[in-house]
Symmetry: C2
Amino acid sequence: MIDYIRDGAEIYRRSFATIRAETDLSGMPPGVAQVAVRMVHACGMVDLVNDLAWSPGVVTAAREALRNGAPVLCDAMMVASGVTRRRLPADNEVLCTLGDPRVPELAERLGTTRSAAALELWRDRLDNAVVAIGNAPTALFRLLELVEEGAGRPAAVLGVPVGFIGAAESKLALAEHPSGLDHLVVHGRRGGSAMAAAAVNAIASEEE
Amino acid sequence: MIDYIRDGAEIYRRSFATIRAETDLSGMPPGVAQVAVRMVHACGMVDLVNDLAWSPGVVTAAREALRNGAPVLCDAMMVASGVTRRRLPADNEVLCTLGDPRVPELAERLGTTRSAAALELWRDRLDNAVVAIGNAPTALFRLLELVEEGAGRPAAVLGVPVGFIGAAESKLALAEHPSGLDHLVVHGRRGGSAMAAAAVNAIASEEE
């Protein structure tokens, strides 16, 4: 038998204690700090907090929307899959439209990626939703276009697409968007579905 | 309309070109280099390659197993969700037992995490399977115990659990395990379901 800690609650406790010891969360509002801890936990990197940026009201706005039954709109199945359903306060719907059979044709017609085209199917859900983008920069760009077109205004946007082409730019576009959307981003190339899901999970419930 | 690249194929091409320009893959066998590129793509960090370690035969062994119909055993739903089914060469089963209703009781009885207990339900599938651990260090430790108990010998283990408690140790235990299992790991705290799924996807098909 190998010697390792088998107690899940103890692993969580020690993980969060390590993160709090190694990060400087003092400049963050308490709600954002709680989200930051879970995001660091999801990626194993304490220096993630250096790239984190947020609008002051983002956690409050997202929490209130979830309590009021808002759906969580995700750009990737992995994000949806990472949301812990029992943490959601109102049995909220967690929606990813990327696998919808209409998406490939929409992408062709709109001349864009399937990740961006999938947002066409969010139009009647977008207003006051919590949006979690953990994969595709094009989805985040498209979201901003939908907001500009007046398709709806999400309560909060958790924008952490990952990668080398467009990721940093899309997050900058969100953070500086004239609409003033409530948002949380990880600037630069880092991001991903685990971080996006961790942010949703932290917002959904204050329980560690 | 915001100005960004909308052509998915072009985004992939530029992403992989950026990764190849910014990483030194010269010390890697070609198969491992291909896996490394996809893993870097999944996390946005070119320095990931510095923490990558592997047994020489891991990609060949995993590819052959998949071609022969081996299942992909995943420790987390997010890993399973990230595996692109159309890349798999033999319509392989992608299995995650974490949500099985027997798991909470198994965890209680065995005095371990649910992630580790879920591996009890792998016993009749373990031999010659491709294992992808992208979340829980305890699952990777438990896997090594199962191998030691003679429960089966996976064809390859993609071991990239993430986090602060046990992650680095579990990956070291895999890399140095006396069984000499074919393996690929990211040493240290970094890892995650996206990296694990990316490794499976790279191994499943040589198509970029």
